[in-house]
Symmetry: C2
Subunit: 151 residues, 2 copies
């Protein structure tokens, strides 16, 4: 169980979850946030390079975040995230795809300025039912250290 | 009007739009995609470092994408995007914030492998009503060149 900064040891892998890319939700998301034809126009998308609708990369990122928050990020110790690097969508997500999380701790170091916390860098991935990586990113998270009384 | 690859000249700036971070939408998004207490639990958030609820960074990214798709990305020439780098959320977004887009073409080069398209790199930003940058990223987009008959 990843609870405090000290638990995020480099090499630790958390894997699991099953978020389905529901077609209606995918379309509603794209209509509001990413209304490009390839994401919202089924007839157009059918004639395109993917042979049908594909999810907005930001919807895929939302499904990733859901699993990352539920299964990886500590509920008691997570502070703000300054950002994300190398966000990639190597394989398109299609309606009905079943996606799971893989999160790997790359590094963990105590904060230089604030003694109560540390900085954890994570490779986050989302894989589909065919074991293809559909999303990959590098996340930076600030996590509180375990309180002295809990050691 | 940015229509084909050739129109995305380095230094071009597109600015505008007004997306409001609606509290109900912000909460619904976070409950589904990013259920961390700071995004979904108003009582908890009130006692935290921000003194209230802040938007999931992925909701902010969604508002960015809406404006980016509507105002910057060509409807006729945009192909897939391989990814995004340096995604940052330097200032939190709060309910009621009014956000606008600023997109700056950083570079544009013809594709080395496919003669019909080019690669455009863009600094994308979202600014709030106080002129603070709340989201910043580097986007890579593939755009078709202008067809010869249209020149």
């Amino acid at each position: 169980m990843l609870e405090y900064f000290e638990d995020y040891e480099p090499g630790t892998v958390v894997e699991g979850g099953a978020e389905v890319a529901d077609e209606a939700e995918m379309l509603a998301f794209a209509r509001r946030f990413d209304p490009q034809p390839i994401h919202v126009d089924a007839a157009f998308a059918a004639t395109g390079p993917f042979g049908g609708l594909i999810a907005s990369g930001w919807y895929t990122a939302g499904l990733f975040m859901r699993l990352y928050a539920e299964r990886y990020l500590s509920r008691v110790a997570s502070l703000a995230s300054p950002g994300v690097d190398e966000l990639r969508w190597p394989v398109p997500v299609r309606p009905g795809d079943r996606l799971r999380l893989r999160a790997t701790v790359l590094s963990a170091r105590p904060s230089g300025s604030k003694p109560d916390r540390g900085v954890v860098r994570t490779r986050g991935e989302l894989l589909n039912q065919d074991e293809q990586v559909v999303l990959s990113l590098l996340a930076v998270n600030l996590l509180r250290k375990r309180p002295a009384s809990n050691t």
